[in-house]
């Protein structure tokens, strides 16, 4: 700030000591006032964009078929309807997929269909018993951990629960 003031003062020499002082005062006043105006305009703008707007962050459960249809250790590609809406827009139904695996001890995991590298849709290669992503060759085990890069994070999971024999898939688990 002081640099700006000094630079501006140098734009043209003042004739004598008194006008030099007055000139310096003017420069300080001009820079100061513009500083206030700038801050007053920048603050709401920054708040506007940097704070998270009120959003749909509620849990929604979607029906994803019968839990009994799952076989242990056999990943199945399941499609289900989900409501998506952001901001003010009304919820619109969209079709979403998940890779659902039932472990031998009846725990059901639903993986997000997006590779954790750059988001491509990966598939289950039964012969190799692993998930393979066609985009850059990432591979994941049946429990979602990374077998081969370039991915570094294990597969993301949806919340799951079973009610009355029906598999319900919930929101994506964060971290």
């Amino acid at each position: 700030m002081k640099n700006v003031c000094m630079e501006l003062s140098r734009t043209a020499p003042a004739e004598d000591l008194e006008s030099l002082g007055r000139r310096r005062f003017h420069v300080v006043l001009i820079t100061g006032l513009w500083g206030v105006i700038g801050a007053a305009l920048a603050t709401p703008a920054a708040l506007f964009f940097l704070t998270t707007p009120a959003n749909r962050s509620k849990a929604k459960w979607s029906a994803a078929g019968e839990a009994s249809k799952l076989q242990p250790n056999v990943p199945a590609l399941v499609t289900f309807q989900r409501e998506r809406g952001g901001g003010w827009s009304p919820a619109a139904k969209e079709t979403v997929t998940a890779w659902v695996v039932e472990s031998p001890d009846r725990n059901i995991t639903a993986f997000s269909p997006k590779c954790t590298h750059l988001g491509c849709a990966y598939h289950w290669a039964n012969a190799d018993r692993r998930f393979v992503c066609p985009c850059h060759g990432s591979q994941f085990g049946i429990d979602g951990h990374v077998l081969r890069g370039p991915a570094t994070r294990p597969l993301d999971r949806y919340e799951t629960k079973v009610e009355a024999g029906k598999l319900l898939i919930g929101p994506l688990r964060t971290a």
């Binding site: 734009t11 043209a12 001009i30 006032l33 513009w34 709401p44 009120a54 749909r56 901001g87 319900l168």
Partner: protein, 468 residues
């Protein structure tokens, strides 16, 4: 390091010396406070552009979406209300300052040779400013703006020849639809700004080239813009900004309820700076309407453009420019009289006439109720309790309408909420919000952890909903 950056920029772009040259530009010794209005006008345009961009990044133009996105900006985004208010009041400020600037230039004869082109560019900028005001106010999608859009497109459509073009451009033969509002938005945000940037560049370049017009007979040596005139400009801009901020924080921009094309009782009126035209139109009814809506305004614009060619005499001191002063005084009197007449003779737009058709607040969709919070109608609608509006705001920000229906609007995943008071009591509702599955087994409703105040307000609001 800053010094090195400055040197680098100077050798590559000559920025430092350009800035120095601009700041040291010569201004006449007679330049003073009357010459600040141009700078304030430029500042006002920049504020509108700035707040406008912030709004445009979050606004959806099509009917229905426009209102919802605006309510979301106001209620759901931090500082959204401030930015919206500033844009609204900034428009009025811009009109006032632009006209003040024009009057000052006119009175001082600063349009004379070689500044005729500067003046003409200025007239074009005045028209663009009015164009911004006209299109901008048709965008919000509330009842007032919808009916104004209907009236404006009707008036435009009635002009012989040009009216047909206007109707095609705005797709306004018949009901106004998505295309009309999307195009209005595009005009406001893309077309008008493009022309404004070009004309501003021309106008400012010409002002830099010719300098401020000196007062008649001023032969004193010129002074430098920085710091004297720069300080005056800064102070004037600061005062204008302070006034704008005061309005922004104290008075909310008006937002009526959602546009209702079936509302036959609403009386649309234009923004205050167009009221004089609105009043003029009353003198030209029926087939003569285009005289008031097109012929007279065009004649006025042509007259404005021709000013530097009508008055070619050497500059006189302002106090001796009797004709110019007379013209300004007459124009001010005419404008004030017409505007006052418009205000006094038309019914109060805040109250719908007749009151019997005013929807009870308990029957409004939650979004519309929530929107009342931001509007001046709040004071007029005394029968709407605060808890209802706050409750509606809690309802809409949590998107309860995704699963529940209130007054005909919302999803059908969960039970409709009208008449819930007959089925459940306050205590049940509050326990249900905290843990729906515990109170209502099998429910897929998520848990809501409201603040005590929000919980109280949404519960009281829901309990007021009438049965169907």
């Amino acid at each position: 390091m800053m010094r090195q950056l400055a040197v680098w920029l100077e050798t590559r772009a000559g920025s430092g010396s350009l800035l120095r040259r601009l700041l040291n530009s010569e201004v006449p010794a007679s330049a003073g406070w009357p010459q600040v209005f141009g700078g304030v006008a430029l500042f006002a345009i920049l504020v509108q552009a700035f707040t406008g961009v912030l709004l445009a990044l979050n606004f959806a133009a099509p009917p229905g979406e426009n209102y919802k996105s605006l309510v979301y900006i106001i209620n759901g985004m931090t500082a959204g209300k401030i930015i919206h208010n500033m844009h609204y009041w900034g428009a009025s400020l811009l009109v006032v300052v632009v006209v003040a600037h024009m009057i000052q230039v006119f009175l001082y004869g600063a349009y004379k040779k070689p500044r005729e082109l500067t003046w003409i560019a200025g007239v074009a900028l005045l028209l663009l400013t009015l164009g911004f005001g006209l299109t901008g106010y048709l965008l919000p999608g509330d009842n007032a703006s919808y009916w104004r859009a209907v009236v404006v497109t009707q008036i435009a459509g009635h002009v012989p020849l040009a009216g047909d073009v206007a109707n095609r451009l705005l797709v306004s033969t018949g009901d106004l639809g998505a295309l009309t509002f999307t195009r209005l938005f595009g005009i406001h945000v893309l077309v008008l700004p493009a022309f404004t940037v070009l004309l501003l560049a021309l106008h400012i370049a010409l002002v830099c080239k010719h300098g401020y017009a000196p007062a008649a007979g001023d032969i004193r040596p010129k002074k430098r813009y920085f710091t004297g005139q720069a300080l005056r400009d800064t102070l004037a801009i600061f005062v204008a900004f302070a006034a704008l901020s005061l309005l922004t924080f104290l008075i909310a921009a008006p937002l009526d309820r959602l546009a209702d094309p079936a509302d036959t009782s609403f009386i649309p009126r234009p923004e205050w700076y167009f009221l004089f035209l609105f009043e003029t139109l009353k003198f030209f009814s029926g087939s003569l309407e285009f005289v008031g809506s097109a012929v007279l305004p065009t004649a006025a614009i042509v007259a404005l453009i021709l000013v530097p060619f009508i008055d070619k005499r050497p500059t006189l001191r302002v106090a001796r420019r009797t004709v110019a002063i007379g013209v300004v005084v007459l124009a001010c009197i005419a404008w004030t009289t017409l505007t006052a007449a418009a205000v006094l003779t038309s019914p109060n737009p805040a109250v719908h006439a007749p009151s019997g058709e005013h929807t009870a607040w308990t029957r409004l969709a939650p979004e519309e109720l929530a929107a009342i919070a931001g509007s001046p109608q709040r004071a007029a609608l005394k029968d709407v309790p605060d808890f209802a509006i706050q409750g509606a705001i809690v309802y809409t920000t949590n998107h309860c309408d995704a699963c529940h229906r209130v007054n005909g609007q919302g999803g059908k995943v969960g039970p409709p909420l009208n008449g819930v008071a007959a089925r459940r009591d306050r205590d049940w509702l509050q326990r249900h919000f905290a843990d729906p599955q515990k109170v209502s087994p099998g429910s897929i409703m998520p848990k809501y952890k409201f603040s005590p105040r929000d919980l109280d307000q949404i519960t009281r609001y829901l309990l007021e909903l009438p049965g169907n």
